[in-house]
């Protein structure tokens, strides 16, 4: 069977998630490989989520947020833009090609851009091949104890 990349996408609620929604509503075809997790802001994407995604078997991770200056929360995406380059260096140390991690800006009106980026990134990961990360089987699932919500 041909290699189908598993990609995790962290999409901000206001721009990218709406943009992805628009792509769907506009019937724009895009690769089905990106599995979307909605966060309120791209600034909510904890670096540990990305590492965890790679750990449990993602071949690529894409974080999408509002264009700079368009953030619904004023400056959340500026926090993200500082975190991702740092993470790229970090994942390199784990033996993960930094190209497997990407940060993109997609606004609520850019359904076509969303589809283009998704297709492009899927193709890139496909050409990079599966991520063969040596991970202890015990770690192949999320290990955080659920935090009690008060």
């Amino acid at each position: 069977m041909a290699f189908e990349p598993k990609i995790i996408g962290f999409l901000c609620n206001w721009c990218s998630y709406t943009g992805a929604d628009l792509a769907g509503v506009s019937r724009i075809k895009s690769a089905p490989n990106v599995r979307v997790i909605r966060t309120m802001c791209s600034g909510r994407v904890d670096p540990s989520f990305i590492l965890k995604a790679f750990q449990i078997g993602a071949d690529g991770v894409i974080v999408m947020g509002c264009h700079l200056g368009d953030c619904h929360y004023q400056e959340g995406n500026y926090k993200t833009i500082r975190r991702i380059p740092f993470l790229k260096r970090l994942v390199k140390g784990f033996g993960i090609d930094p190209r497997r991690l990407r940060l993109e800006w997609v606004s609520a009106s850019e359904g076509d851009r969303f589809a283009r980026i998704v297709n492009e990134f899927t193709e890139e990961i496909r050409s990079l091949g599966p991520l063969k990360l040596q991970v202890h089987t015990e770690l192949r699932k999320t290990i955080h104890e659920p935090v009690e919500v008060v």
Binding site: T18, M40, R44, F49, Q74, E75, G76, T142, V147
Partner: protein, 586 residues
């Protein structure tokens, strides 16, 4: 107060009034060529001479600058005065035989042919008669001091300093305005833009913006006002009785605290000069929809008459739909309102002129209540409705000039024929587009735009008036092109929405909020500076951070940054997201 008699008529005027003004008050006409209320009398034309009789003494004086005296009797038309005036006008007529004001005055006093021959005869109809009004107005009103007299005697003339155009001249046109013969003209040279003879903007520097303006008071256009260029003029302040004109007013920035905002910033119209094939801005009698609307307005520049630039009634008018809309090179959307206002134009042109009317459309979208019926009515009036987008508008070749000054080239797609229609006037139905500063506005309110550039609503069907930002609503063409009934409906809905919050007195907020698990918080304060809403404070006693839930918007930036996972977000806890991650990897 001074009491005097003018031609045996008793007049009472304040001191320091000139005889000319006193006579004006008494309803007695004294001829003059150089006098104006705008500036100090110059007394150069000598036509306003009168006889001032005091007792047995009589003096001939110029009435424009001779103040009234108690008890004098002024004779404005005595045989002596008549003789003097006649002589002056004979001299003037000898020098400027074709100037209308001189000819008219001469005829009024009974001079048909002068007895004299002038050495400096000027046959021109608009010759300069050296009245000096332009010099006075430039010196005293405009205060630019650009014009002056040069030379003496019969060589005397109005001149610019050193005979060259002065940099001090602000091109206000006051000299041309006061010139009684039309010798001074405002000429536009080397102007590449739209020809300005048919200006649709305000004609003066102080004007009432529109008849419907609220408050309906005049405003000063500081860019055109003489006062703001030279410090002079202030004529409007002189004539304003309640002294309401204040040149010292400055733009002010006011801060007003509000709970909700309705963004109704409207639209721009597509600039048709971007489509050179339609000749907008280069050909005469090619109008944009708003310009034509202005022409049709009864308070507009033509008082509602449909006129070509040379003041004739057009023999035929072409109305061209979809300029910049439904066009992949410009805006792919339909502008919605154009079809109907184009039909309205046809209706009004048909009512006011005998012109034959052509409509060039792609698809006729008579979509609203009563609109289709109106379309049928227009068809019944004999308006020629042609389906096909106009290819170009060009100046008519000489052979076709008799039928129209312009030629519209188009394909009639229903008949499958190429058409060349001569017309006198072309009206372009420009697309409605997002305002040019809409990006800055939407950043200000942190709202999004749709691909067409208009503001994005929260949901196109279920929530078309509110935005992703709580408390910010949109209405009207800022959200997308729409006609008046739709705008009214949307704006009313937005207003009702806002009122419901006001009457409720409280707002519901999203449950997505960050909170601190105090037992895990080490008090590192990393989160404190991250929050764009300053919702996180540090409790010095407990040495932990605390989230103010009313200020928190739930973005989660602090949650992602917390090194000890003490910060958690309702609805988006680490555990929830990791569980999600676990689930979708299967």
């Amino acid at each position: 107060m001074v009491t005097l008699k003018i031609d045996d008529k008793q007049v009472q005027v304040p001191e320091d009034t000139s005889i000319l003004k006193a006579a004006e008050k008494a309803g007695i006409w004294i001829p003059t060529l150089c006098y104006s209320e705008l500036f100090e009398p110059y007394g150069v034309c000598r036509l306003c001479v009168v006889e001032a009789v005091r007792g047995k003494r009589s003096r001939v004086v110029t009435s424009c600058n001779y103040p009234v005296r108690e008890g004098i009797n002024v004779l404005t038309n005595s045989p002596k005065i008549q003789w003097i005036r006649k002589t002056i006008l004979e001299l003037m007529l000898a020098r400027w035989p074709n100037v209308k004001v001189v000819k008219d005055l001469a005829r009024d006093v009974g001079v048909e042919k002068p007895r004299f021959v002038s050495l400096q005869r000027d046959e021109a109809e608009d010759a300069c008669i050296l009245c000096g009004k332009c010099v006075s107005v430039c010196r005293e009103v405009v205060q630019a001091n650009v014009l002056g007299f040069a030379y003496r005697g019969i060589k005397r003339e109005i001149a610019l300093p050193f005979g060259v155009q002065s940099e001090a001249c602000i091109v206000c046109g006051a000299c041309a305005h006061v010139c009684p013969t039309g010798h001074i003209k405002m000429v536009v040279e080397d102007y590449k833009g739209k020809k300005p003879e048919f200006t649709l903007g305000p004609k003066t520097a102080i004007y009432v913006p529109t008849l419907q303006a609220v408050p309906r008071v005049p405003v000063i256009d500081a860019d055109s006002c003489i006062h703001f260029k030279t410090g002079g003029c202030e004529y409007c302040a002189k004539v304003c009785e309640p002294n309401a004109i204040n040149f010292g007013m400055k733009d002010e920035v006011e801060e007003i605290e509000v709970g909700q905002i309705l963004v109704a910033t409207g639209f721009d119209i597509f600039d048709a000069s971007a489509m050179a094939q339609y000749g907008y801005g280069t050909l005469d009698n090619v109008y944009s929809s708003l310009e034509f609307e202005m022409m049709l307005n009864s308070t507009g520049p033509t008082n509602g008459q449909v006129l070509t630039k040379d003041g004739r009634e057009p023999r035929s008018v072409a109305i061209v739909h979809c300029i910049g809309s439904r066009d992949t090179n410009h805006h792919s959307y339909c502008s919605r309102v154009c079809c109907m206002y184009a039909l309205k134009y046809a209706h009004l042109v048909h009512d006011r002129t005998k012109a034959s009317i052509y409509q060039f459309y792609i698809d006729m979208r008579a979509f609203g209540k009563g609109y289709e019926e109106f379309y049928v009515r227009i068809l019944d009036k004999g308006v020629k409705v042609i389906r096909g987008k106009v290819a170009e508008v060009v100046e008519a070749p000489p052979a076709q000039k008799d039928e129209g000054s312009l030629v519209v080239r188009c394909e009639d797609t229903l008949a499958g024929k190429l058409l060349e229609i001569p017309v006198d006037m072309v009206v372009l139905c420009n697309a409605i587009e997002a305002r040019r500063d809409s990006d800055a506005v939407r950043r200000l309110f942190s709202i999004s735009k749709s691909p067409d550039g208009f503001f994005l609503e929260r949901h196109p069907k279920l929530d078309p008036t509110s935005t992703m930002t709580d408390g910010v609503y949109i209405a009207g063409c800022a959200q997308g092109p729409k006609d008046i009934p739709d705008v009214v409906a949307q704006a009313s809905s937005a207003a009702a929405r806002m009122l419901s919050f006001i009457s409720k007195g409280e707002v519901e907020i999203d449950p997505v909020r960050a909170f601190v698990q105090e037992e895990y918080c080490s008090g590192c304060k990393i989160c404190n500076s991250l929050c764009p809403y300053t919702a996180i404070e540090f409790l010095a006693e407990k040495k932990v951070s605390h989230v103010n839930e009313a200020l928190c918007k739930g973005c989660g930036t602090c949650v992602a940054a917390c090194p000890s996972s003490a910060m958690t977000g309702h609805g988006f806890t680490d555990a929830q997201i990791l569980a999600e991650l676990d689930g979708i990897m299967v």
